[in-house]
Symmetry: C2
Subunit: 192 residues, 2 copies
């Protein structure tokens, strides 16, 4: 099974993580893990408490997915977290970020020379976290092995876009149908 | 603060619970709790492990939200769980179900005489769990204090529909914008 690590941290946005998780959970050749810097319980402002494994940055994985949320503000200034993300990125085939998760990738220096997007409301802040060719219009952006999405729900469209590009459009349609999701299939078009 | 209890059980569908949770988390006068029959850790097929409180059925609450998932199959035959839902429903102002969560409400006898919907793929099974006027076409249905949605992602539209009816359209729009969600605002229209 191919490993998909979903990186959680205190004050992550639930839908950023669990929207794409629901989509990627439809890939029969993959196994998801919910991971964090230290392992153990991670919480957020909804009162949600999720148990996580400690992320082993050296373990090869198919996807590292980084959600956004208020926790990316302290996260973007946390050298330990950024170092872990950088190290884990080196052993990941694909990097996916949702919402302000791209601020963490940028702060870790992982978006340099690449096109990327982020949450529209927090765009100024996120795009100031590190170098990238920031695209404010996109629903999501793929540049090479890095997929980044706009805010929260856009992560679902990005994850379906990822499935479509890597596994084919039929697989993406079948997952969208299973979760009864009305797709926004155009990466470049967003109403926000 | 008004209490919103999100009832989790083993093999619940993550997006059924956390889509609406993200929406309802935008209501400043409400506090969310993730609860279960016994309290403690609840898991699902994605490898997700969530900590829950034990649901106190007698505590008055604003909303009881019941997600769907594979766990509704054993759940629909579990007299202890159904009794708890029935008891908790009596002290809830509103009942919301997502996907096959409506099978649990039906099996608990809570949909008798009411219009309701459920997941399209599991419709035959869900609608066989108990009496209701089952609507196969809807994205979501409101009948009095009970809101039920179609599969998985439809819960997000239903939660926004709930906010729109109870708090007004502007509040629903503001939450949809914050989570950058392209709404399906018509309860009666679904492509699935």
């Amino acid at each position: 099974m191919k490993r998909i690590d979903i990186l959680l941290f205190d004050d992550f946005t639930a839908l950023d993580a669990f929207g794409p998780a629901e989509v990627l959970g439809g890939l029969e050749d993959c196994a998801l893990s919910f991971v964090s810097l230290a392992g153990g319980e991670v919480g957020n402002h909804l009162g949600l408490r999720v148990m996580t494994e400690k992320l082993d940055p050296e373990e090869p994985r198919f996807i590292l997915l980084v959600p956004g949320g208020f926790g990316t503000r302290p996260g973007s200034r946390d050298p330990e977290l950024l170092g872990l993300i950088r190290e884990a990125a080196a052993s990941s085939e694909y990097l996916l970020s949702v919402c302000t998760g791209s601020a963490l990738l940028a702060a870790a220096g992982l978006l340099e020379g690449l096109r990327a997007t982020s949450n529209k409301t927090a765009f100024e802040w996120a795009s100031g976290c590190g170098p990238a060719f920031w695209d404010r219009q996109a629903r999501w952006v793929r540049d090479g092995r890095v997929f980044s999405s706009a805010g929260v729900s856009a992560g679902i469209d990005m994850a379906l876009g990822f499935v479509s590009e890597i596994y084919g459009g039929e697989k993406a349609e079948s997952i969208a149908r299973r979760i009864e999701y009305h797709r926004n299939p155009d990466a470049d078009r967003d109403i926000f």
